[in-house]
């Protein structure tokens, strides 16, 4: 299990940032895909923006973007139909066989 998975299992969303050139490596990895420098693991800001969404069995799922570059899919808790570009936050994440992310719109 990678450090990313371990952190996720503990409920923390971390990303890999190159110690040399500061690039965020996403999907996460141990080495930078620009300069091959070693990465450090740091928390991802939990506030992001909605890129796209759909719905399955009355539950929204979406692509959310954090720090203007890390895009990840998760479920979206909302009682209203969201708008693209809307602010959201990560309220839960975990690892249960698959990575799991739960987001919530900021105004809800």
């Amino acid at each position: 299990m990678t450090k990313f998975d371990e952190a996720l299992k503990a409920g923390k969303f971390v990303c890999s940032e190159c110690q040399k050139c500061k690039k965020l490596v996403w999907p996460p990895n141990d080495y930078c895909n620009r300069c091959f420098g070693k990465v450090k693991w740091r928390p991802v800001s939990i506030t992001g923006k909605l890129v796209e969404f759909s719905k399955r069995n009355e539950v929204f799922f979406c692509i959310a973007e954090f720090e203007n570059q890390i895009r990840v899919m998760g479920s979206l808790e909302s009682t209203i139909v969201p708008t693209i570009g809307q602010d959201l936050k990560l309220i839960k994440c975990g690892h249960n066989g698959n990575e799991e992310f739960v987001f919530q719109l900021n105004n809800s």
Partner: protein, 369 residues
């Protein structure tokens, strides 16, 4: 670079029987030998196998059970466009002069491990392909006003075309209403908007200009090739209304073949979901951006089989490792004038577009009589 042409082909029926990958491949190879006069095992210098199956040493196994002792033999895996990738590898061996005759065979079982890319953590718990296709659909609908009916027309057209394909998984037509009313898998995707994973195998024989005369009088030349890999992670697609890897691949293939989109008489495009065909006909230059729905509707209403004459992935079924090769077989038959009831009149130049994992990579081939 030496010229390379399609010299023969073989297909199996697409179904969901319980069988093995090597058995499926052998059936397609057997059909290829039956279809190709003067071909003997000793003619074949390259054997490439295309699949997402976890079999080991497969190309050597398939060579042995086919009685072939090739110089070059290996497997090619690249999810849904393994087939086009393997054909391009074989092309390269011949074009470079390393070999004169290559057999490429692709196959998949309905329960292929290639249906889900576990590596892609950016997909979170939404790893099944219906989720990325929902994202593409929603974006295209929002930006261009594409409707549920437009999507259903892709599926209705391709199921209708598949009726004339004796190897297709589906053997019935669906009305636009039936497709629109089929089960909602998500808010944006209905069951009949999806291609069906199934068993299937397709084999092609490629040969150099010197070698091909022995096998056919009507060679179909591979004149253009383009490939692009943007990423493996789905969320690297910046614009969800386009397939950047397909645009790049098409541009390379058109340049190499010295063709433009209006030169293409017939095309097989990768309609893994209804939205894919609409985006692809735009990104391949057959329709203006946002007008792919109008082209598909016109083809459906006029019974024009120019796009996906064999029924595409939606009508024929989608055995991942075989799909790209089955697309090449169809364009080969079209350009040879042997496509029967699917035949596009006077087709001279054809195109194949095969892609993987939410269009994170694509391959485009142009073929010419």
């Amino acid at each position: 670079m030496r010229k390379v042409a399609l010299a023969g082909f073989g297909l199996t029926e697409f179904n969901k029987d319980d069988t093995t990958i090597d058995s499926l491949m052998l059936l397609a190879i057997k059909a290829l030998f039956e279809n190709t006069p003067n071909l003997g095992q000793k003619d074949i210098e390259v054997v490439l196998t295309s699949t997402n199956d976890n079999s080991k040493y497969l190309s050597s196994i398939v060579s042995e059970i086919s009685g072939i002792k090739p110089k070059i033999s290996h497997s090619v895996e690249s999810l849904c466009n393994s087939g086009a990738n393997s054909a391009i590898s074989a092309f390269s061996y011949i074009a470079s002069g390393l070999a004169d005759v290559a057999l490429v065979v692709g196959a998949e079982r309905f329960d292929s491990p290639g249906l889900v890319l576990e590596w892609d953590k950016s997909r979170g718990q939404y790893k099944h392909p219906i989720y990325w296709s929902s994202m593409f659909t929603k974006s295209h609908v929002r930006k261009y006003g594409t409707t549920k009916e437009d999507l259903a027309i892709v599926s209705a057209k391709n199921h209708k075309n598949a009726l004339d394909n004796p190897y297709a998984f589906f053997k019935k037509t669906y009305s636009v209403d039936e497709i629109m009313n089929s089960k909602n898998l998500t808010e944006d995707i209905r069951l009949l908007d999806c291609s069906m994973p199934c068993n299937g195998s397709a084999a092609i024989l490629l040969a150099s200009e010197e070698a091909i005369k022995k096998f056919t009088d009507i060679p179909v030349w591979i004149t253009g090739i383009g490939q692009k890999t943007l990423s493996a992670g789905f969320t690297k697609n910046d614009d969800l209304t386009s397939m950047e890897s397909t645009i790049d691949s098409a541009s390379m293939a058109y340049k190499m073949a010295e063709n433009k989109p209006t030169d293409i008489d017939v095309a097989e495009v990768h309609d893994a979901f209804s939205i894919c065909e609409i985006i692809e006909v735009e990104d391949l230059g057959f329709a203006k951006k946002g007008k792919g729905n109008e082209l598909v509707r016109d083809l459906y209403e006029t019974n024009d089989k120019k796009i996906n004459p064999r029924g595409g992935l939606i009508g024929s079924g989608h055995p991942l490792g075989a799909t790209g090769l089955a697309q090449i077989v169809e364009i080969g038959q079209q350009l040879q004038g042997t496509a029967g009831r699917r035949q596009i009149s006077k087709a001279k130049i054809g195109l194949v577009q095969n892609m993987s994992a939410a269009a994170t990579s694509s391959s485009v081939l142009i073929l010419q009589r």
